[in-house]
Symmetry: C2
Subunit: 336 residues, 2 copies
DNA sequence: GTAATATTTGGCAGCGCTGCCAAAATTGTG
DNA sequence: CACAATTTTGGCAGCGCTGCCAAATATTAC
C-alpha cells in the first residue's frame, strides 16, 4: 500500500501556486490564510479547499522575513535533567502557546560560554523574546542581548543585576529560610551537600544565605561535599556516606536539591540511620519524589511553573515591573 | 552605569551596512561570514573587525530563505517530565550540535491531535529533519510528514509501520522479557501498574507483550491499575496501595516505569512490606533513582540516549537501514 | 436610476540574504 | 612584457511572503 511516488524532487508548493489554482491574487490567499484583512466567505472556502488539496504549508521563513516579526520565543536553560527546568518550560508554554508563540529550547550544560554560543545562534533566528535561566552571563552575552533589542526575562533568581525583566525569588533568602528552620529545630552540627559552585550559581547563593544564618546562630557548616555532574541520587547517597564517615556526629544535612536529598535518605534507609532522630535531612525544590517518600522530605517548594508562566507573560507584555518576586514556601516533612 | 541609549527604534544592522562600512561587496562579506568560497586573509580580518564593531548578527531567516536549507531539526516528544525524553534529546544534541544543527523541541502532552498541530507549525519553519517519538500518529500527521519531503525518524518503538526511518526497540518484546524474568523467579500472582493506555501506546505494547508471556506460563495478570496524569511517585504509591487492598495475595507487581515503581517501593517501605519476599517489584527504564534505591530495583535498562543519537545521525545521513534495533537490557536488582 | 460608501481584490516593492556568473585584480610563464 | 591561469570581488536576480495602496466590485442611500 505505502507505495508512493516517493522519489523526491517534489518542488515545494508555494503561495503562487495556490493563487494560480484558485484564480485569485496572492495577497488574497495570504489574507485568508492569516485571517487578516477582509475577504468574502466564498473566497475563504475556495482558498481553504485549494490549500487542502495542494497540501500547501505556508513558509513562515518567508513570512517572517517579509513582516519582520517571528512567533518564536527562545528559552535558554542549563539542563533538562533537573525537573526544575521542564517545569519552567511547562509554565512558559502555558502562557505562550495560547497566543500563538512557539518555544525554541536551548540547553547550556551549566556553561556560560555555551550559553553565549546558543544565544548567539538563536539571535540569528530573530526570536520575539528570550527567557533565560539565571542572571549570570558573560559580558558578551549581556551585550548581545542588550543590542539585539529583543525583550528578555531572566528567571529563577533575583539576586543580582538583571538585563531587563527578572522573575524569580531570592536564592540567598531561600537558603537562609532553610537554615532558620534547621536552627529552630535545634540542629547545630550541620553538613551541606550540593553541586560544585562553579556549575550552579543559584546553589552557591543558597549556600551563602544558608551558612550566614547558621553562623549567626553561633554554629557553622561543619562539613560540605561539592560534586560534579553525576546522577543526583547516586551523588547524594555517596556524598552523605563520605560525609558521615568523616564526621559521624553530624545531626543534620542540607542538600541543595531534593534529588540529592533522596539519595541521602536512601543511604539512611539502607544503613538503618534513623531520620530525623539520628540525622535530619532537608532538601530543596519540593519535588514529588520527596513528597511521597516513606518519610516525606522537609524541603522548600519553589514556584517553578509560575516563574515560567509569569516570566513569559511579562516578556510578551509592554511595560510592567522590572523585578517580580514569586514567593517560595518551606514545607516541613518528617525528616527534620 | 547601565544607562544606555535604550530607547529602542534601533534599526537592525544588516549585511548591506557591514558591506558599506568595510567598502566591499555584500557577496564578499557573506562569503567570509560563512567561510565559503575564496577571499584574502586581509579581507577576512577587515570584515571580522567591522562585524565585531557593528555588532552584526546574521539574519538566518533571510539566509535560509535565500539558500533554501535550514539548520533546524524538529524534535517532537510527548513530555519533558519523563526522564526518557530529556535523555533522548541529549542523545540527539550529541549528534546534531557538532555538525551545526539546532534542535527545536515541541511537546505534545501525549496527545496525537496536539502532535499534529505542533508538527504542522514546525513544518512551516522548514526544518532539515524531524525526530518524533513513537510510530503512532494521526493519518493527517503521517500525510503531512510524507508530503513535506523532510527526512523523518521515529524513535523508541519498532512495533508498527514507520514512515521513513525507525530507531528503537520492540516495546512488546521488552514487556515479554520482563514477564519471563518474573515467571522464572517463580512469581505467579502478578499485578500491573501503568498509565492509561490511551496516553501511552508504548506502555500498552509492553503490557501486551508482558501479559502474553504471563498467560503462556499458565498464570494471568491478576490486577491492573491504570492511571491518568499524576505525579509518578505519588501515582505508583497510591496504585499499589489500592491494588494490595483488593488483592493482598499478589506476589509481584510490574510497574510500567521506574518512577511508578519507586512509588511502589516507598509504599512497601512505609508499610513494612518486605521486598521481594512478601512482594516483588519490577520497573522499567533503568533510572538512577531505582538503581540507587536502598534495594536496587529490578528493571529494564533502555537505550534512550543511544536512540536519540543514532536516530539523529541516521536522519541526517543519506541512505541507510530503515529500521534500527537498539538492544535493551534486563537489570536484576534486589526487588525480585 | 445615479452617487456615495463599504467591501473585496490585485499589483508591486522589498524583507536580508545567497547563488551564479562575470569583472577585476593578482600571480605565474616563457 | 604580453599572455594565460588563478584568485578575489561585485552585481543582480530571486527565495516566498507581506504591507501598502489603488482598482474593481458590491451595497446602500436618495
Amino acid at each position: 500500500m505505502d507505495q508512493d511516488d516517493d522519489h523526491k524532487q517534489r518542488t515545494e508548493v508555494t503561495l503562487r501556486e495556490v493563487s494560480a489554482a484558485v484564480g485569485l491574487g496572492m495577497s488574497t490567499i495570504s489574507r485568508v490564510l492569516r485571517n487578516h484583512g477582509s475577504f468574502s466567505k466564498a473566497t475563504r472556502d475556495r482558498v481553504m479547499k485549494a490549500v487542502e488539496e495542494l497540501g500547501y504549508v505556508p513558509n513562515r521563513i518567508a513570512g517572517t522575513l517579509a513582516s519582520s516579526g517571528s512567533n518564536l520565543v527562545g528559552i535558554v536553560i542549563p539542563s533538562l535533567h533537573n525537573i526544575v527546568f521542564p517545569d519552567l518550560l511547562s509554565g512558559a508554554a502555558l502562557a505562550l502557546n495560547p497566543i500563538g508563540f512557539q518555544t525554541v529550547i536551548a540547553v547550556t550544560d551549566y556553561d556560560l560560554e555555551q550559553e553565549q554560543k546558543v544565544i548567539q545562534s538563536m539571535l540569528a533566528w530573530r526570536p520575539a523574546a528570550f527567557l533565560v535561566a539565571g542572571v549570570e552571563h558573560t559580558e558578551r552575552t549581556r551585550a548581545m542581548l542588550k543590542n539585539s533589542g529583543v525583550r528578555i526575562a531572566e528567571l529563577l533568581d533575583t539576586d543580582g543585576e538583571g538585563i531587563d525583566i527578572v522573575v524569580g525569588f531570592s536564592q540567598r533568602e531561600a537558603g537562609a529560610v532553610s537554615a532558620r528552620h534547621l536552627i529552630e529545630r535545634g540542629y547545630r552540627r550541620i553538613g551541606y551537600v550540593g553541586p560544585e559552585f562553579a556549575f550552579d550559581p543559584r546553589a552557591r547563593k543558597r549556600f551563602e544565605g544558608f551558612s550566614a544564618v547558621v553562623a549567626e546562630a553561633g554554629a557553622s557548616v561543619a562539613e560540605t561535599e561539592l560534586m560534579g555532574r553525576t546522577s543526583s541520587t547516586e551523588a547524594g547517597r555517596a556524598a552523605l556516606e563520605r560525609m558521615l564517615a568523616r564526621s559521624p556526629g553530624l545531626d543534620a544535612v542540607y542538600f541543595s536539591n531534593d534529588d540529592f536529598a533522596v539519595g541521602g535518605l536512601f543511604h539512611c534507609f539502607a544503613n538503618n540511620i534513623s531520620v530525623p532522630s539520628k540525622l535530619a535531612i532537608m532538601g530543596f525544590n519540593g519535588l514529588d519524589i520527596g513528597r511521597f517518600a516513606p518519610q516525606p522530605l522537609t524541603t522548600v517548594r519553589t514556584p517553578r511553573t509560575e516563574v515560567g508562566e509569569i516570566g513569559a507573560r511579562m516578556v510578551m507584555a509592554q511595560g510592567g515591573a522590572k523585578v517580580v518576586d514569586i514567593p517560595f514556601e518551606l514545607v516541613r516533612g518528617a525528616t527534620t
